[in-house]
Amino acid sequence: MAKIINLTINGIAVSIEEDKTILEAAEKLNIKIPTLCYHKDLCVAGNCRVCVVEQVGSKKLLAACANPVHEGMEIETNSLIVRNSRKHIIELLLSEHNADCTKCYKNGNCELQELSSEYKITNSDFIDLVPSKNYQIDTLSPSLVKDDSKCIRCQRCVRTCSEIQHLSALSVAHKGDHMKISSFFDKPMNEVVCSNCGQCIIHCPTGALVERNYIEEVWDALADPDLHVVVQTAPAVRVGLGEEFDSYGSRVTGKMVSALKRLGFNSVLDTDFTADLTILEEGTELLTRLKKSIVGKENGVQLPMFTSCSPGWIKFIEHSFPEYLDNLSTCKSPQQMFGALAKTYYAQSRGIESDKIVSVSIMPCTAKKYEADRPEMRDSGYKDVDYVLTTRELAIMIKQAGIEFNNLDDEKFDKLMGNSSGAAVIFGSTGGVMEAALRTAYELVTGREVPFKNLEIIPVRGMKGIKEASVLIENPVDDWKFLDGVELKCAIAHGLENAHQLLTDIKAKKAEYHFVEVMACPGGCLGGGGQPIPTSPEIRAKRMKAIYDEDKDKPIRKSHENPEVAQLYEEFLGKPLGEKSHKLLHTHYTPRDRY
């Protein structure tokens, strides 16, 4: 056990393990020390210096986030020298910052703004450095906007991009007064290794990195009486949206549907429907690959098969492991399957002309914006998904429309592509796609339910970076006899750093699997870059619990039992991996450069 250290903070005694910091000790006493560069998801940088505190007897102040506790330490967090220094530091940050707060996208949700409000920085007479800076705004990415004039150089994005995502699309360039956060040779973000995951956005304390928003475009579409606007909502949105209305860890599915109807969407549908569809397509694809590899002994059958739901992961593999592109499932993501069906199946069934349909999706994700823009995603003959809004953008629209979200009654999704199973809901969590796939595939192959209590496949759940599971297949039905005795080996990674590690192991043949699920963001989609800000391990854990609760409460828990999906195959697609599926629901990806 760690040694216990005794110290005092503002005269109050506190005891804490020896490897903890002053910041953590203060937290224990409910003393708030302001921070900017510190983030619970990231390693300690100690560069903003806002958290400086006084150690009695020492002339220099200490950064509370970076300094470990010592026996007998006497810390002051609010002495005159601390207050004056802290104020100076905030003033300095503001002098380099384009503080046009009222016109800023992050107005009201900015840590620097909050801090300067707390310290009442009203009459700083430091020289405004912004005019001498020649700051650039990069708007070329379909997913994010990078505005250097709002940047406070805390490097949270840099650490996020390297530690969580192993990409380093953002890094520090130059030194001294020219120091800035930059991409490779300062290229625009759409030309570099950026996965568009948006993790930098949810870790940015200011408005320097924000999503490219499409709110006005969607309002325009909603206002046009000639257009039929359909909206789909991803599973993780319903466990995050509540946070924008001060309710953490809540499930707001019914209120969300109700709000979307009030916003004027003609049909409020569910990405979960196509998540179920994905399971049927992807499950069939996996079984086909296994058959070819085991029975046909065919060479060139790529195993393990990787999931393809996460567009951040897709972009990552295109850049970093293009030699594994053939291992990706050819299935489009649920969003894109939905989009392709909205302008074909849905249009036909409802008797609406495809070009009058505007397809909007609400996603916990910024990479989905990029995905929707891909040239591969126009198989319906139109742009399959017209606009992608993040959970945050939806919250903005709800607020703009004057909807009192917390007082809304629950409503249900519309019919036709609105029904879903519990298996689809858990797509929003790491391990969810794997669990959903196993629930269906195992039953298809053996005729029995997966051998887990309440269908809860515990080994694939939880926040561990890389999870492994295996399922032994015994006594399969006749069609799948070749799988008898096969141990189906699976792995799950979330966060691209973990994905990188897993792929490195696979490449080195240190690990062999049949099926691998990867989600670009920590925790899966529930921790996506389009989710409410802030994020932290605790917040993600709450969202995860909500997701699995939602699954438990669903009357249907397995994708292949979704009646609307069965109806879709019957009326439109034929069979999984059939000709129409192939045209609309499957695709291929492209190798990309590594800078």
């Binding site: 004056n84 300095l92 380099e96």
Partner: protein, 393 residues
Amino acid sequence: MGKKQLRRMDLIFANDEDFRDILKQTLARPNEEIIEDMISSGLKGRGGAGFPTGLKWKLTAEEKAKNKYIICNADEGEPGTFKDREILTQVSYKVLAGMAVCAKITGAKEGFIYLRGEYKFLVPLLNQELDKFHSACSELGLKFNVKIFMGSGAYICGEESALMESMEGRRGEPRNKPPFPTVKGYRGCPTVINNVETLAHTFTIFKYGPRKFRDLGVQDSRGSKLFSVSGDTPTPGIYELELGMTVQDFVDDFGDGDTKAVQVGGASGFLVPRKRFKETAIGYQGKLTGISLPTGGSMMIYNSSRSMYNVLNNYLDFFQEESCGQCTPCRVGCQQLVKGVDAVKRGDKPTAYLDKLLKLTDTMKFTAKCGLGQSVANSFQSIVENFREEMIY
């Protein structure tokens, strides 16, 4: 000029033909004894920060770790110092001997000379010396290998933790301390990092014993030190002098008779105006009290033809550019100081704005992450407080 001449020492550059014998004898002595000698000699880091060298070696020796490293900091970047270059040119074997003994004591198997980018021309010479050194090591049964690592010209990489970051292939940004390099240095392993001159002095101590070193200098500032003398002086160059002299004595010897001020310790040091020459000594004694100044050995002499505003501006420009840019007080503080003194000079800001800037430098001193940002206050405060009128008119 120079009526009263300070005693020139000749320990560092003395050519000791008995180098191998001294190294052999020293390596044969027990570790504790050598450390004891190092501590009792009173040798402190000659890079300017003045950490007791013996203690640094002792702390690293006490750490338990598979790998340890010895680094010679030859990034000599402080404006106005050029002594390490000369040591490496003339007596690099002394530096290497210091590293070898340190390696024996700590158990390090690898060492590096982090060589300033601009000193690339020294590489062929150093490689020759390294060949000789390595053969001496193997003769003496010491497994220790020293490589040269080239810096790329950033001032901040002279800061020990930024230096290690850059050696590890990352951006040269200072780390949080603690942990200190003696615990977690290069590649997370215990590391001794010493300035070139410090290591050269250790050879003197090995050869003559701690007593001879200790007898030089004054209380708490023991031994001799190399000074890089530049500016308005008829006799610029490198001089080995005893620590503890007053600036007056120094100016009497090296000044041109019209000395207005002396910048002690380079851009990150202090400006001593004429009226304080007599009361200011050079050494570590009573650290930062204003009467005794620690120094890396840069002595820049300014005569009455120099504008102190320009001198300050030049330093601030340097810091503004050479700050690594990671921490707020240093990155933005330096920019505010540059723009601030300019605004006062032009009359865009009232003269009282200088007081606000003085307070800002206090904040920089208390809160900056590393020595660079913390020491900007030294030159700023000593110049603005002593030559306020020159800042304004």
